[in-house]
C-alpha cells in the first residue's frame, strides 16, 4: 500500500473520529471493533519537526522476525509470525493471523536511515525515523524593518 496524499490526513482522522462519535450516539457500540483496520499490520504514523514516528501492533512477533528497510523516503516492513502450533490436533477458533506480512509506505520526506531506531515492546513496534537535514522544518525569523 502506498500513501501519497499526505496533506489531507489530519482531516481524515477528524472525520473518522466524528463517525465513531455518531455511531456511539446511535448506541451501536458493537461497530467500534470493526473500525480496526484489516490491513496487516495496521500502522499509525505521526510526525514532529525532527522525526517521523511509526507504530504497528505486532503481538507475538520477535524483533528478530521483523525486517525493516529504508531507502530515502521508502519504508518497508516485512516479517512473519509463527502459528502457535503447526501440528495442532484441534482448533476451536482460529482468528489470529499467522505467516508472512509486509507493508510498504512512502513517507512525505527523506529519512536519515542511519539514525533510525526500532523497538518492540509488549507486541508494539515503534520506529523513530529522524528526518534528513534537508527535510527538517526550519524556523524562519521575519525581521521587521
Amino acid at each position: 500500500m502506498l500513501v501519497r496524499t499526505i496533506p489531507s490526513w489530519p482531516s481524515a482522522r477528524g472525520l473518522r473520529q466524528e463517525m465513531e462519535r455518531l455511531l456511539e450516539s446511535f448506541g451501536d457500540s458493537k461497530r467500534t471493533p470493526q473500525l480496526r483496520s484489516e490491513v496487516y499490520p495496521a500502522v499509525n504514523v505521526w510526525e514532529d519537526g525532527e522525526s517521523i514516528y511509526l507504530e504497528a501492533e505486532l503481538p507475538g512477533v520477535a524483533l528478530g522476525d521483523v525486517n525493516i528497510e529504508i531507502h530515502a523516503n521508502q519504508l518497508s516492513i516485512r516479517g512473519h509470525r509463527e502459528s502457535p502450533e503447526t501440528d495442532s490436533p484441534s482448533y476451536h477458533r482460529r482468528e489470529r493471523a499467522s505467516g508472512e506480512f509486509s507493508r510498504f509506505l512512502t513517507l512525505p520526506v527523506e529519512i536519515n536511515a542511519d539514525k533510525v531506531e526500532a523497538t518492540l515492546n509488549d507486541g508494539v513496534l515503534l520506529l523513530i525515523m529522524p528526518k534528513a537535514a534537508v527535510a527538517r522544518a526550519r524556523q524562519i525569523t521575519v525581521k521587521a524593518n
Binding site: 495496521a42 507504530e55 502450533e85 489470529r96
Partner: protein, 132 residues
C-alpha cells in the same frame, strides 16, 4: 397467542452486560486450542503488560479485560491513523468441564495465553479393547 408474544418480548429483554466505561473497546483476536487435558485460549492484546490485564471468572463466564493507555500525545500530528488504542474486552462462557480454580494466565510480547484445565470427568481417555 398474546402470551407467547409477551414471552418473546421477555426473552429479548434479558439484560446483557453493558459497557460502562467511555472510549473504544476492542475485541481481541483469539485462538482456542484443545488438548487432551486442557484448553488453551491465546489472545492478541498488543501493548498489554501483566498489570494492565484483568481476568474475571464469575457465574461460568470468563472475562478478559485490558486497559491500554494511549501511547501518543493527544495532539500528535498524524499522517496515517489506522487503528485506535483503548480497552480490549472479551467474554467466554465456560462449560462444566473446566476446572475454574486451575486456570492460569501469562502474557508475553502482547500475547495472553490462558490455560484452562479440564475436570477429570471431561478429560478424554482411550479405552482399551481386550482380545478374548
Amino acid at each position: 397467542m398474546t402470551s407467547a408474544l409477551a414471552n418473546k418480548d421477555r426473552e429479548t429483554a434479558i439484560a446483557q452486560p453493558e459497557q460502562t466505561r467511555t472510549g473504544p473497546v476492542f475485541k481481541p483476536h483469539v485462538d482456542i486450542i484443545e488438548h487432551p487435558n486442557e484448553l488453551l485460549v491465546i489472545a492478541d492484546i498488543p501493548g498489554a503488560t501483566s498489570e494492565a490485564i484483568e481476568l474475571q471468572f464469575e457465574r461460568g463466564e470468563l472475562t478478559i479485560n485490558a486497559q491500554i493507555a494511549s501511547r501518543q500525545a493527544a495532539d500528535a500530528s498524524y499522517l496515517l491513523s489506522e487503528y485506535g488504542v483503548g480497552a480490549f474486552q472479551r467474554t467466554f462462557r465456560l462449560g462444566e468441564g473446566i476446572d475454574s480454580n486451575g486456570i492460569t494466565a501469562e502474557v508475553s510480547n502482547g500475547v495472553l495465553t490462558l490455560t484452562l484445565p479440564k475436570t477429570s470427568t471431561a478429560k478424554s481417555h482411550t479405552i482399551e479393547v481386550k482380545a478374548k
